[in-house]
């Protein structure tokens, strides 16, 4: 079964546990600047929004890469960077409509979410379940259920 990251911004408190979990898994250091997932605080609106790669099926980044350094992981559905092939040309960072592929000046390669090989650390670290990892075919399940519950007669 393929799984997807599901984000519910209304549950996010902006603590950045996900950013640290991500940077530790990917780079071995607690460092939000190296995280593949970012939390955006909208101060005056009073909301924190987590954002990361949605793993597009027809991934712009994958198609744009001139050296085939972005490849599909058939098990997880993630589009993964092959560091040995990446030449750091950054075309994928331009191709991605969502900004979720970014260049890392320290390594000279690009970085993006790879779903941690199918066990995403951000979802495990999130203390409020704002980030969950769910059946890719049923990411709307909880929302459907919430609306379905409106049919329950009032007592």
């Amino acid at each position: 079964m393929q799984m997807s990251l599901v984000i519910d911004a209304n549950k996010c408190t902006g603590c950045l546990q996900c950013e640290m979990a991500c940077s530790y898994e990917a780079e071995g250091v607690f460092n939000p600047t190296k995280s593949r997932i970012k939390i955006f605080p909208f101060h005056e609106e009073g909301i924190f929004v987590p954002y990361t790669c949605t793993q597009c099926d027809e991934a712009w980044c994958l198609h744009a890469c001139p050296v085939d350094a972005i490849q599909l992981n058939k098990t997880t559905g993630a589009k993964e960077i092959v560091n040995d092939l990446c030449v750091g040309c950054k075309v994928c960072t331009i191709a991605c409509p969502f900004g979720t592929v970014n260049y890392n000046a320290d390594s000279g390669k690009v970085i993006k979410c790879d779903l941690c090989g199918g066990d995403p650390e951000c979802a495990k670290a999130c203390p409020t379940s704002a980030i969950t990892y769910q059946d890719a075919n049923w990411t709307g399940y909880d929302k459907m259920k919430d609306y379905a519950a409106k049919a329950i007669p009032a007592k």
Partner: protein, 619 residues
């Protein structure tokens, strides 16, 4: 590995920024933040130093856990000699500033000397610069924050800044980071202003390493599970914030009201955490929009609030910063109490507005509200008149008066400069020092020690002046953590207070938030620190570090003239019995508790740290 072992020393007089190694011998003994900062202060700044002179220094310091994934590990402390108290000051702030300092590769930033003209400090990993701040001198924290983000073209820049009161010598000015997180107490922002420093901005990209990663994840995950399973940290604080206490403390008759003349406030429920959840008439929204977290915090007690758009404080006020018309940092219990209960005001929107002003301009709302409350009592007693207040009718409960006073202190103008000296100096100026509800000239927090006896001893002996965050026996006396004790008796309170004081000093030195101690003991902190840092860290060692920190602060204060001579409570708390409620008839039993405390501390009967105690703790 969790210390970067690097210190950035900035000499503002000479215009130099130099890196130097952290003194690791001291770090072994004092850990970080409060403890290690105080050690540096006591070695480098003589206790007799004039706090607002160039000879005073400021230590902006993280702890060994700061910047890691341990819950709440984003904090930093500001240690200096306080202009409000004349004693050691240590104000601790959350938000996202401490972790950024660590991420940039620094354990501590020291500010010494005085700049010739207004400056701000810019730190980007190894690069530190002293840059001109003429464009933002005279501006609020929020205005300065916008200007700095724009100038550096970096939305992820972290900013800590002072407002106008800090520039102009208001003695309880705070340093605000991330718009509404404060190193709030004892006037640490005033010291920054005296050095002509408007702000410190940091951007770090180096990251933080831990010593034993596998153990670290095990330890921090276990500790997070404890927070997630505790009713205070998992339910009470995320839902109601520190405001969970408003109704609790009022119902037990320990809610200081109208400058501590009463101990029950009839309007408490209207300014409580529960009231912040109630939809209002004008737009159907609640005061509270949601809770928010500081860096790495899995509790998330922070309040994010709006002011009713129809309230007089913001309606048709185009002169205000735009954040007043949107969300910002909402009411904490202490602010709601000081600005509200203590002044007899139960208008939650006026309190939220005043709280926003404190955040925008960098003010300690406890000291501000308490000083207004003392002035109100003097006004009602006829000690001061409209001739003194600039025409303001300072009656208890006068919402417009409280708002006006807050704005004047925020602007550091007129009567605001009088209130800006704090309640001790204000009351003394008009010949009634007994009306100032302070210890070491610092205003009390929201717990009447006639109804919660242990807190009286805590206030009297607090090294930074009256404070609830130095020995919170409320946890035991009210909430039953770790064990329930009777709030109305003095028996056993000396030992209880000492236990809380020492443990708190250890929490404060580790780089985590004291609110974790509702669920954690030092037995839960030790494994996290042990995996984070080289060396053996046990609960016993942490308790000893806490005791060492407490005694070092005390020794500094003794030499600063703030030792046993200042272990006093105002006469009102010792002689005037509580008039109504569950604690009716009670005064505080400090005279009974204090000798027990000195004895249990291993101090002389005069309250001086003994040579044996110094030797035992290696001070």
């Amino acid at each position: 590995m969790s210390w970067t072992k690097k210190v950035l020393r900035i000499n503002l007089s000479a215009g130099t920024c130099e890196a130097e190694p952290l003194n690791m011998e001291w770090a072994e003994l004092y850990l970080g933040q409060r403890g290690l900062g105080t050690k540096y202060l006591s070695e480098e700044v003589p206790p007799t130093t004039e706090p607002l002179s160039p000879e005073n220094k400021m230590y902006l310091i993280t702890g060994p856990l700061t910047g890691t994934m341990a819950s709440t590990a984003g904090r930093y402390s500001v240690v200096t000699k306080s202009p409000l108290t004349g004693a050691v000051a240590c104000s601790n702030s959350g938000g996202f500033f401490g972790n950024e300092m660590k991420c940039a590769g620094w354990d501590m930033v020291i500010l010494e000397g005085k700049a010739a003209s207004p400056v701000y400090i810019s730190i980007n990993d190894d690069n530190a610069e002293i840059l001109p701040a003429d464009d933002i001198w005279g501006k609020s924290v929020w205005e300065a924050d916008e200007w700095l983000h724009s100038k550096h073209q970096d939305p992820q820049l972290r900013v800590a800044a002072i407002g106008v009161p800090g520039e102009k010598g208001v003695l309880y000015s705070a340093i605000i980071n991330d718009l509404h997180r404060a190193a709030g107490r004892s006037g640490v922002g005033t010291v920054m202003g005296s050095k002509n420093v408007k702000a410190v901005v940091i951007r770090g990209s180096k990251g933080v390493h831990v010593d034993k990663p596998k153990e670290f994840f095990e330890a921090t995950n276990a500790a997070k599970a404890i927070l997630a399973g505790n009713p205070v940290t998992a339910e009470g604080m995320p839902t109601l914030g520190t405001q969970v206490l408003m109704n609790v403390i009022n119902e037990m008759g320990a809610m200081p009201t109208k400058n501590w003349q009463h101990s029950v406030f009839e309007g408490a429920s209207k300014v409580s955490g529960e009231a912040m959840l109630e939809p209002r008439e004008s737009d159907g929204k609640a005061n509270l929009t949601r809770n928010g977290a500081c860096f790495a915090c899995t509790i998330a007690c922070g309040r994010i609030s709006t002011i009713d758009p129809q309230h007089f404080t913001v309606k048709n006020r185009e002169d205000l910063h735009h954040s007043y018309h949107g969300n910002s940092g909402g009411l904490e219990y202490e602010a709601a109490w000081a600005l509200g209960c203590d002044t007899g005001i139960d208008d939650i929107d006026a309190l939220t507005y005043a709280n926003f002003v404190c955040n925008e301009q960098g003010l300690d709302p406890i000291s501000l509200g308490s000083t207004i409350a003392a002035a109100m009592e003097m006004y009602e007693e006829g000690i001061i008149t409209k001739a003194d207040t600039g025409g303001i009718d300072l009656s208890f409960g006068n919402v417009e008066a409280m708002v006006k006073c807050t704005e004047l202190v925020g602007a550091a103008e007129g009567f605001g400069l009088e209130l800006g000296m704090g309640s001790a100096r204000f009351c003394a100026k008009y010949g009634h020092p007994e009306l100032s509800m302070t210890v070491r000239s610092q205003e009390f927090p929201a717990y009447d020690p006639r109804g919660i006896q242990g807190m009286g001893l805590g206030f009297a002996t607090s090294n930074r002046g009256a404070c609830h965050l130095r020995g919170y026996t409320v946890a035991s006396e009210v909430l039953g953590i770790p064990i329930k004790t009777d709030p109305l008796v003095t028996d056993g309170k000396a030992e209880l207070q000492i236990g809380f004081q020492d443990a708190t000093a250890a929490f404060d030195s580790a780089g985590i938030c004291i609110f974790t101690s509702f669920a954690w003991t030092l037995d839960d902190v030790a494994p996290q620190l042990n995996a984070d840092s080289a060396g053996e860290w046990t609960a016993e060692r942490l308790a000893e570090i806490g005791e060492r920190v407490w005694n070092l602060e005390r020794i500094y204060n003794e030499a600063a003239g703030q030792g046993a001579i200042a272990d006093k409570l105002p006469p009102r708390l010792l002689n005037e019995a509580i008039k109504a409620g569950p604690a009716k008839g009670k005064v505080n039993g400090l005279p009974v508790m204090l000798p027990e405390y000195y004895r249990a501390r291993g101090w002389t009967e005069d309250g001086v740290v003994s040579e044996e105690t110094k030797a035992r703790l290696g001070i």
